[in-house]
């Protein structure tokens, strides 16, 4: 009797093990058949279209501010109401940590169906074969881009394949607080103002304001790119194997400008703005700690103004005397469909809705940048709140000070960015290196990283 019971227990355990192990191995098969799907994509998509009533689950991932989360979630609810067979589960974070999250999911073969993509990372993800070419969906009309001009689409194309759909057009710029300028009795900047002008009016602002600084300085890569473009070069060489500028003096001058401003008290010291990181809603200008912020993208005005609760103004970047125009029309961010997606057509359908639907875009309120579909732009223009109108006007004005966008960043660019932040940007703010040292060090190490590109 006892023996029987023991062997029964034994069998039970064995059974459990078998279930456990087979669960593991069937997981493995799934992965294998996934990669099989990639090859036979089109057939598979045909299947899903046939039985449209089947419950479809889409995952979507984006980064952004609270403002963006609220708006996007509302649009997702609207879409699910119109398409009862589709369930969309959203995942969202801030910019910090977003790419780590993506990479982890990519490695696990578990990317969401739709991901928000950035211009800086596009080559990296396309180069690793993680994104789907959307041209077939554009051709068969699933993804309707008939109302979109080429200039808005080009940023998402690599070798004529469309890997990413632009969600809004953006222009880099600065933002200032008109009330603080008035309080200090300083004339706000006008288009055409120069780097020297910033030096002088920032100092004046700092002197005249009680407890606020003139500007929040920026030696980040966005402003650096702009400065290099004004000098007729770019950050990366066209072949992506080295830096795009020859003369270190360019970087030295660029850094020295900020060092001078911090030393003279025209610009806020780092402990005022380092807390905020890349979080738009916490930048010191929101609390009135600085009168001007020198690094912002036009679409961020919507979030930063709503966080501040008072009007702020967008302005061009400072001009370089005798230099070229530095601005460019940048895709603020994209939606891409990933290779891991089992419902690529449904994903494309959602992107189409997001791009073209008027009510959805009323909710989105151009928070991701000026919409790319003509009808949506026209529709929104009258309905926009002040922040949105300023953004539209700014993007329009900046076109007169723009030249074409640089090609997407080469592979390894993310590592170069880390290097720049750690060994140039932060030490310059804290006065730990001289611009000359920083520039030489950056060239040496960045070229070493980029040289790995074959």
């Amino acid at each position: 009797m006892w023996k029987k019971r023991k062997s029964f227990l034994f069998l039970l355990m064995l059974g459990l093990i078998v279930i456990f192990v087979s669960a593991c191995s069937s997981e493995g098969e799934d992965v294998a058949s996934d990669s099989g799907n990639d090859a036979g994509e089109t057939e598979n998509n045909g299947d899903t279209a046939d039985n449209g009533e089947e419950q479809i689950e889409l995952r979507i991932l984006w980064w952004g501010s609270q403002n963006r989360h609220d708006r996007t979630l509302e649009v997702i609810d609207m879409y699910m109401e119109e398409n009862p067979n589709v369930t969309i589960s959203p995942e969202f974070t801030g910019w910090d940590g977003y790419w780590e999250k993506m990479a982890t999911q990519a490695a696990g073969g578990n990317l969401p169906d739709i991901v928000q993509m950035d211009y800086a990372y596009l080559t990296e993800y396309v180069g690793r074969d993680l994104l789907v070419d959307l041209n077939p969906f554009v051709e068969d009309g699933t993804l309707d881009l008939s109302d979109v001009e080429d200039v808005y689409m080009d940023g998402g194309k690599i070798d004529d394949s469309l890997y990413a759909v632009n969600l809004g057009a953006n222009v880099h710029g600065t933002v200032y607080d008109p009330a603080l300028f008035e309080e200090a009795g300083v004339e706000p900047p006008e288009p055409g103002y120069t780097y020297e002008d910033v030096q002088s009016f920032a100092k004046e602002l700092s002197d005249n304001l009680d407890g606020a600084y003139g500007v929040q300085p920026s030696v980040g890569t966005n402003t650096l790119r702009h400065y290099l473009r004004q000098n007729g070069v770019s950050l990366y060489a066209p072949d992506g194997k080295s830096l795009g500028y020859e003369d270190d003096q360019l970087l030295v001058d660029f850094l020295q400008n900020t060092v001078d401003m911090i030393e003279s008290g025209a610009a806020a010291p780092p402990d005022v703005f380092m807390d905020a990181g890349s979080n738009v809603e916490q930048q010191p200008i929101v609390n009135g700690d600085t009168a001007m912020l020198l690094d912002i993208y036009s679409n961020q005005l919507v979030a930063i103004e709503s966080a501040a609760g008072r009007p702020l103004e967008l302005m061009l970047n400072p001009a370089l005397e005798g230099g070229e125009p530095g601005h460019f029309l940048k895709p603020s961010q994209f939606f891409s469909v990933t290779k891991d997606s089992k419902h690529q057509e449904e994903a494309a359908k959602f992107i189409s809705y997001f791009t073209n639907n008027l009510e959805a875009n009323e909710v989105l309120n151009a928070e991701r940048g000026v919409p790319i579909a003509g009808a949506v732009r026209d529709h929104l223009r009258d309905k926009l709140d002040d922040a949105g109108k300023k953004m539209f006007d700014y993007v329009e004005m900046a076109q007169d000070h723009a030249k074409p966008i640089d090609p997407p960043d080469p592979q390894g660019a993310t590592e170069v960015e880390t290097l720049y932040v750690r060994e140039v940007e932060e030490p310059i703010y804290y006065g730990q290196v001289t611009p000359e040292e920083a520039a030489a060090n950056f060239r040496e190490k960045a070229n070493e990283i980029l040289a790995k590109n074959e």
Binding site: K6, L9, F10, M13, L14, L16, I17, F20, V21, C24, D96, W99, E100, A103, T104, A106, A107, E124, R128, D129, L130, P270, D271, V272, M274, D275, G277, T414, E415, T418, V421, R422, E423, E426, P427, Y429, Y430, Q432
Partner: protein
Amino acid sequence: MKKKKQLRSQRSIDITGFTFIAPWLIGFLGFIVGPMIASLYFSFTNYDLLSAPTWIGFENYITMFTDDARFIQALKVTFIFVFGSVPLKLAFALFVAMLFNTKRKGVGLYRTLYYVPSILGGSVAVAVVWRELFGREGALNDVLGIFGIEGTSWVTSPDFALSTLILLVVWQFGSPMLIFLAGLKAIPNELYEAAAVDGASPFLQFLKITLPMLSPVIFFNLVMQTIQGFMAFTQSFLITNGGPMDRTLFYAVYLYEKAFAHFDMGYASALAWILLLICALFTALIFKSAQSWVYYESEGGR
């Protein structure tokens, strides 16, 4: 005949035993040993996470020691962190444990309350709270402001960021405290009574009775906390993200950055194995030194 039967039953006992630990065994092999072997292999390859790894021999290890200033920086930061936080944390934990080693009313409640920080320790919520406390407009600066001292943003200051993180870890003294408390309770009261009769002061009692009797517990806590210290990740990653200027670049944060931000999984695997060796080395050193300071009653006073 009899022997054969014995053998069979021995085997069936073995099988039963293995069957019972099978869930653990499978987990251990599948989730610990397997990944470890994989990472050992990856550490000799150039592997970007998404395409197939290519074998490059010892190159990752060579680069690490000859051509990677950030690796050296990460080591430096981690060593400062471990040697700064572990002694402070243990001393503090012992201090609090001794406060609680009384029979006063409500002491159980306090023990629980003081344990809470270490449960919350690794969580995102505490990281946010820490930023709020030590940020530029944080509570600490408000308090300092009362005394007319102007604070800075402690978590982003290159001079203070690491100390802020050490403070956070010291604050999470709960689990070593509980272990110390158990150790203190195990010390026979007669020893103290005898010492008191002989006229030993409380300080002398602490030095001559508490510390030696507690040394096995101190030893255990030291080993555990040192290993934990080397592997610290959350504090730096969530509060300072390794910055400013790599001043809080914990080893584990650097490893993570290499793996998931720069897609350099091969190099990150190599980093992980070096970390394992470092942990092993320090644990061995502590064990070796233990012979001279750890006192085991059962070994007859040696």
